[in-house]
Amino acid sequence: MLFLKSADLERFLAAASETRTVYVPVDVEPKKSAYRKWTPGTAVSKGLKTTRSAKDFFFPQTEDLVGFRIENKKIQILDPRGEEEDFAVFGVRACDARSFGILDKVFLSEPVDTYYENRRAHGLILTMTCRRPAETCFCTAFGIDPASPGGDVAFTETADGWYVEAVTERGRDFLAPLGDLFEDRDGSGAEAAKEETRAIMKRLPLADLQTDAFGGGKTKEFFDRPEWASLSEACIGCGTCTFVCPTCQCYDIRDYDTGHGVKRFRCWDSCMYSDFTKMAGGNPRLTQKERFRQRFMHKLVYFPENNGGEFGCVGCGRCLASCPIHMNIVKVMKTLSEGQDES
């Protein structure tokens, strides 16, 4: 099995950077990381998760969709896109890796979103196992194994380096020319590290979180539950949970008049915002309760209904860590399934 020694990480990233831009998690504050372009000397974060998810790489917070120039009352349409370049994202955890599959179900279903598709086609995902999961982690509830993170190439972390396995054809093609960076080791070390991760997952406080109560076809069961009122009462209607979420993909399309043309861009939007569904004629979701309910119903009921039972959550725990009032999908799931037992 291929093994990359800790000391050789810099060499590996340098080699990978020769063919593409490589993004790595970097500590921007103690224990707070964000993806940055790797350049020689960039220290890769040892933290568990970036504050923002990795969805930005394929679905950036803002992107220009189309440009307009108006001359002599004629509208000229401009496609702002240039050639997409190859890139790789290093250190993606299992939860984020799964989120790409969820985003694919939205953006790659007909009609295909070509903006997203282009980036997906050019992005190589280098995943990494989790050695030190946090209390906010609950990916296992969604059938994710943080010890087999998927992506194109999977890195299994150990004390002195990483076991490296190609997961996809693309991953194999990427690793093929980099052979001399790796040692050959037998895979028992990898298996031990994976078991260690799985053992920790079982000890986490959210290890027993159950999803059985939820899923497609349960709209009627949950929509009118009285618990929504108390769950949403403290919600301040910000978009933090949505924007740090790896699977939230709602967007807005807006026009910006630059004075010499118009840029139409799309940007992340949040169903938690009061103006999300506001129309000239009124707003069908008048209070935060309805908006709050929409977000969780979508993840736990509507999305699985349309996607063969797959939930719209990967248990990364970012919303647990970031919510200003500490309300989150775990509390929603627990409250709703508890209430169900009583009834």
Binding site: E29, A34, R132, E135, C238, P324, H326
Partner: protein
């Protein structure tokens, strides 16, 4: 203190003084506490919590809750300043709220605990001047002062400017010098350094609007940034200019009304030190127009809606500090 608060809340519910109680509800890992509205004694008995992690300022919820009938709120000193400002602005009817002032020894910031490399938290206990953090990787002990929120380290006052009754001892105003140290440090920099500092900070903004939505001074029914007719409605910072615009205007719109409760910095998922913008306005107002403390009382006029004939000219900015 928690037991005293629960007892008082239940008494006031029972004797009909109030119909609801605003407090804090326990969470999953002892630090993830949510503000909550309690309607009966059983809920209070089961879920009401008051400890070092009840950081959320509950005063803004009173705009909504007080409209539904009389409600009890427990206020930390900084919450009481926010509350008083809301009362002064007639956003909350005084007769619809019953306010109990509670002492505060400063709130812990879970991110500062985590920044020390502590993860897998399953519970936290207070032990004198320290916290014992239980984690799945073992127990850790951290000093209280090392993990207090920034705003608590420079606490402006332990006094409640408004209350119906107090639990515990009333505190006093604290010296302000440390509070403005961060602003002074920036003022001492060159313009280039300041520009680089703020670009670095503001470029982290994800425009989640948490700072605005949590702010007890941001109470407009329709914010300029949400109003398509304002000409500056933005949903995402599509350009660095918009990051500047949003944060300058957000701070400006609460200038003279901001009580420096620090909620904006607390909720920022990117840890942008937003209080440094608000405190700059507070410091400028103090220096130029005389010391003013929003939320102190409801008689002193807001410095931005008053003036004196001898006010400084805007050119004063050109003469100060480093360019």
């Amino acid at each position: 203190m928690q037991e005293m608060m629960k007892k008082r809340a239940m008494e006031l519910l029972a004797d009909g003084t109030v119909t609801r109680v605003i407090g804090w509800r326990r969470g999953e890992f002892s630090y993830d506490i949510s503000p909550a509205v309690f309607e009966d004694a059983a809920q209070i008995e089961r879920d009401f919590v008051w400890d070092a992690f009840c950081g959320a300022n509950v005063s803004k919820y009173l705009i909504r809750e007080s409209a539904k009938g009389r409600v009890l709120a427990f206020l930390k000193p900084c919450d009481a300043f926010s509350m008083n400002q809301l009362l002064a602005e007639h956003r909350v009817k005084r007769e619809n709220v019953y306010l109990i002032g509670i002492p505060c020894a400063g709130k812990a910031d879970i991110d500062r605990i985590k920044a020390r490399g502590i993860d897998g938290v399953t519970g936290i206990e207070e032990d004198g001047e320290a916290f014992v953090v239980h984690t799945i990787y073992g127990d850790e002990r951290v000093g209280r002062a090392d993990v207090l929120a920034e705003r608590c380290l420079v606490c402006k006052s332990k006094r409640h400017p408004v209350y119906d009754e107090l639990l515990g001892e009333e505190g006093e105003d604290l010296p302000d010098d440390a509070r403005f140290a961060g602003v002074e440090k920036l003022e001492a920099m060159t313009a280039e350094e300041r520009f680089a500092f703020w670009r670095g900070e503001l470029s982290k903004c994800i425009r989640c609007n948490a700072c605005r939505n949590v702010c007890p001074a941001c109470t407009c029914e329709n914010c300029v940034f949400d109003n398509p007719d304002s000409g500056i409605s933005q949903k995402a910072a599509a350009d660095p200019f918009e990051e500047n615009m949003y944060h300058i205007i957000r701070a400006f719109h609460v200038a003279g009304r901001c009580t420096d409760c620090g909620e904006c910095s607390r909720v920022c998922p990117e840890h942008i030190p937003l209080h440094l913008l608000n405190r700059k306005f507070i410091k400028d107002i103090d220096e130029l127009y005389g010391t003013y403390r929003a939320g102190e009382d409801d008689e002193t006029k807001n410095p931005l809606t008053s003036f004196t004939e001898g006010d400084a000219e805007p050119a004063v900015v050109r003469k100060r500090g480093r360019a």
